[in-house]
Amino acid sequence: MKILAVDTSASPVSAALLSDGALLGEFYLNIKTTHSQTLMPIVSALLSSSGTDIKDIDIFAVNVGPGSFTGVRIGTASVKGMSMPLGKPCAQISTLEAMAYSMPYSDGIVCAVMDARCSQVYNALFRLDGGEIERITEDRALSIEALAEDLGNYEEQIYLTGDGADICYKAFENKLPNIFLPPVNIRYQHAFGTALAAAKMAEEGRLVSSDELMPVYLRLPQAERELKERLAGNK
C-alpha cells in the first residue's frame, strides 16, 4: 500500500512517500517561497525520482490544520485535486497528530504546539507509551499561559514539538521542570509523520473521499473573546 503525504501547514513544505510502512522518499524545503509554487514541483520530483506513477498511490494524505490559513488551503486543495480524478481515498490528518507521529520512541507526553501569533498557540497532547500514541486532548487553540497551566497537571517528561516549541520552551523552562525541547532534526513537522498517521487511519477504516476532505480551522481565544464582546454589545 502506497501513501503520498504532504504538509504545507506552516512555513516548511514537505512530501513523503510511504510503501507498506517503509519510507521510500521524503522531500522537505524550508525557504521563503509560497507553498503554491513549491508543493507540486516537489511532489512531482518525489514521484519521478522514486519511479512511482501517481496512479499507483493508494492513499493521499494531508495535514488539514490547524496551521497557516493559506498553507492548509494549498495542501488540502492540492490533495483533493490529485486524488479526485483517480477516485482514491484521502487521509485527513491533524497537523498536531502528524507531529506526534514524527517523534521518536520515547515514553512521556508529546506537546505538539504551533505558533498562532499574539501569544496564542494551536496544541494537542499525546501520551507515548511503548510505541503507542494515545491522544489526550482534542486539537485546541489557547493562550501560551493557559497551556502552561494545563501542562502543570502532568508529571511525566513533556516533549515540545512544532514551530511553537521554541517560544513555549522559553515561556515554560522556569515553570515546568519536566519540559524538554527535542533537537532540531525532530522538532518540527514532516510529511513522514503525516504518512504514518494516515497508515494508522487506513487500518482503522477512517479514510474519506476527496469530496469530504476539508481544511480544519480552530477559532483562537482572541477571536472568541471578540465575538462574545460583539454579541454582548448587540443585546
Binding site: 497557516s68 490559513f69 493559506t70 498562532a116 501569533r117 477559532r219 477571536a223 471578540e226 465575538l227 460583539r230
Partner: protein, 146 residues
C-alpha cells in the same frame, strides 16, 4: 513603543514631498519590516506607499488594495500592501492570510487602526496628520534614522 525607538517628524507640502519622505524610509529597511500606517481618508497613505515602493525599485502602479485587501509588488524586497479598512476582527485578519506574509517581505498596512491590537511588538508606525489642504505632518516611530 519599543525601548530606544526614535521618533522622527517631517512636514510635507505636497503628495510628492510625502513620497520623498517614504523613499528615504525605504532606504533604511532590511526586508521584513511591518509598517503600520495611521491617518484618515485622504491623509496620503497611498502616496506614502507609492514613495516607499519606488524607493525599493518598484514602479508598478501602486493603488489602495481596498477590495483586493492585499497587493503584492516585487522589487528589492517583496512588498505586501494591505488595506484593513474592511478588516475588523481576528477572523477577518486570519482569513486575509496576514500572518502568513510575516517575515517574508515588507508589509505596509493602511488603516492599521482596525488591527492595532494584533500587530506584533516589533513594527514601524507611520502616522500622517493633515495640517491643511496640502500640508501633512508625518511621524515615523520604530525605524532607523532616515
Amino acid at each position: 513603543m519599543k525601548r530606544g525607538s526614535i521618533l522622527q517628524k517631517f512636514i510635507t507640502n505636497s503628495p510628492e514631498e510625502t513620497e520623498a519622505v517614504a523613499e528615504r524610509l525605504a532606504a533604511v529597511l532590511g526586508g521584513t519590516e511591518i509598517i503600520a500606517m495611521f491617518g484618515g481618508l485622504g491623509a496620503g497613505k497611498t502616496a506614502f506607499t507609492r514613495g516607499l515602493a519606488r524607493g525599493l525599485g518598484i514602479n508598478d502602479g501602486v493603488s489602495s488594495p481596498t477590495f483586493a485587501l492585499v497587493h503584492e509588488y516585487s522589487g528589492k524586497f517583496p512588498v505586501y500592501h494591505f488595506d484593513m479598512y474592511r478588516v475588523t476582527s481576528w477572523d477577518d485578519l486570519y482569513t486575509t492570510g496576514f500572518f502568513d506574509y510575516m517575515d517574508n517581505g515588507i508589509m505596509v498596512i493602511e488603516w492599521s487602526e482596525n488591527i492595532e491590537a494584533f500587530l506584533p511588538e516589533e513594527h514601524i508606525t507611520v502616522t500622517i496628520k493633515s495640517l491643511s489642504d496640502n500640508e501633512r505632518e508625518i511621524t515615523i516611530e520604530g525605524a532607523k534614522k532616515i
